[in-house]
Symmetry: none
Subunit: 215 residues, 4 copies
DNA sequence: AATGAATGAGGCTTCATTCAT
DNA sequence: TATGAATGAAGCCTCATTCAT
């Protein structure tokens, strides 16, 4: 039989991956059988296995995809000019994405990947890249803003980046557990908090914890 | 053996739960077989099943325990007097806990529970309680601080609480993926950010989002 | 501790056997766990095992009991004087017993024993005795009636006994499957049939099948 | 393997059912493990479960099959013309079947089903149908014979049918417990008894039970 | 004697993967 | 290439029985 075109193969692969996303997002890895993916993708067992070596490999590919997406989201946001703009763009880009149904589905899948990473070395490696690359991008951007004098120097850019990512991830969880979580309110609060943090006492020295305490 | 004391039963239960925590934290729910828990607990199959009805029930009990712990952590912190103290205590309590090995293990388990909640209604219910109760406690504390004039009124107490929780959860993830994540730096940054947020523009009016955006 | 009296032991044994009858009749052997018998008997695991060596042994003892009862039922009926009286007494004794709730329960148990006998040599031996002894008693009684001139000689006493027993067993099944089966009607029909059979053409030669066919 | 024909599927199903009959007839339901059926059928665990959902379902299907066979046996016999012919055909058909090894095996299985019915609602329903349908067929046939003047009207057709079925079932038991039970003798006796019953006192009035009792 | 906690072999079933067609 | 029937290891759990107290 004739070899099928690469495009055809790609389409099939997508078909499988989309089916897998659907199933995994809904039921997690354990509860999703290959049979579910097969049914959802309208393909046959054999077909699936001619595109992916195993269920685990599908998971790994999906992890890779998510990581790519995350990186691009950060990358895109950081193309904006000027400091606070970058940050605001990032926050809104991120938060906006939580409103789209497709993205929400993938975020659920993402959570399963976060847990999977804890006991699957391959996935852990992918997740680490998926967190570290955005982290570095962000960290570098913050560093640059500091260099440009838009930001207090006392802030450790790396840690600041971590905090931002933590905020995002943390909210992804809350939204997954309660789909009515108020994204807009959260967005606003994060914007405010981050602004306050980055701009606090920009005129002189940073606020010291002790001072705050005794106020 | 004849009737044993309640203490004995409790000890056995703990033995099983601890074994389960060990296994689940290390390998997740799927990869942990009852056999693993049996081996780790030094008990027999039957013994386990005379204390718990099923693997799922063990998971649920562990979820309940985590939720309780989380609530108590928040409750304890909020017993401090005065506003910023409460908050700082909470942050340090939380971050300190991430340094203890036992707690780290349980946090890993916690992440597995977060994912499990997405496709296990019972666990979801438990997790929701486990998030909502601390959220309310925190929210109420913030509200009280606002009432006492220690905090800007523009902040929505509920959302602020959400943001804090998100920060914590988000960092738990980072630490799980990279056990060398710098807890101290994170702690400091969170303290600073939160202080900045809650006290921002205390000298005049709060920064408005619109202003920030258009800057 | 003091050795308990034989009476006490007997009572305990009965307690266990009654509990077992209850459970086995209701749920069969497989579905009845030792735990069920323990609960129903209000004794402890250990107690049960100090009176019986195993679940199988309980079954065997119960089989023995049933067999005894069955034998006595036949024996008692055959004490009547004169031929048809014996038979009628037997039939009514048997059918009457099907009206009592206790007996019905034991009959259900009996059915389980019938099946058990097919794959449990010990029970098979007991059941065989339980069928053969009544069979012989009956057969001998029929033979005697023939000798006394009350019955046609052409009838094979052994087979006739078999037929009677088959009628009884067969109806026990029907009643077990449908507790509203009409015992009275069945009794009457059996009486009539048996009478017809035993007395048919008592004046001369037996009816030949061929004749019946061509009539 | 690619899609296989329906015939192939049917053959496989039969293969499994035959293996199950073999095992169940020999050892009963409890003592037969899926492993036994798997070995006996020369298939794999998975194969079995792709044809049947559970061990219980196999039992139910077998119960259905038996019920069908039983019904057909009666139906076929009742196609004969004329009254006593029908009956004699039925009796010989039934008794002949007890001579075939295959049928004897299935009869053993049948006994296990009779017991199973007592504590398995699904099987009970099937067994009831399996008894009631032949019962009705027979009852109707007897009624018709009465209408045609071939039979005494005093007989309750329904009860008479019950008696016949009871005779058959009862003998199935005896044969299962003692494979040397004399089928031919039993057959003859049943034929005679039934003939005597149905034609008794055809010369005058039927014998009344009361008379028999008081004789 | 009595208790009931503990044991662990064995039961039923699932499901990722293979491979004949 | 594509199909889906077949495989069988491994999983969760039950339950008759034992034995320390």
């Amino acid at each position: 039989m004739p070899k099928v075109s690469q495009t055809h193969r790609d389409n099939r692969k997508r078909q499988i991956l989309d089916a897998a996303i659907e199933c995994f997002a809904r039921q997690g890895f354990q509860r999703t059988g290959m049979e579910d993916i097969i049914r959802e993708s309208n393909l046959s067992t054999g077909a699936i296995y001619s595109y992916f070596q195993s269920k685990d490999q599908i998971i790994e590919v999906l992890a890779d995809e998510r990581h790519d997406r995350e990186k691009h989201l950060v990358q895109d946001a950081l193309t904006a000019e000027g400091w606070p703009e970058c940050l605001h763009l990032l926050i809104s880009r991120f938060c906006d994405s939580l409103q789209e149904s497709r993205e929400r589905k993938e975020r659920r899948l993402g959570i399963h990947l976060w847990a999977e990473a804890l006991c699957n070395p391959k996935v852990l490696r992918i997740i680490r890249r998926g967190v570290n690359q955005p982290l570095e991008l962000l960290s570098r951007a913050i560093g640059k803003a500091q260099g440009d004098g838009h930001l207090r120097k006392e802030i450790d850019s790396n840690t600041a980046a971590r905090v931002l990512i933590a905020l995002f991830h943390g909210f992804v969880l809350q939204q997954a557990w309660d789909e009515h979580a108020d994204v807009a309110a959260f967005t606003k609060a994060v914007q405010a908090m981050v602004d306050a943090y980055f701009s606090a006492v920009s005129k002189g020295r940073p606020v010291k914890i002790r001072e705050l305490r005794s106020r």
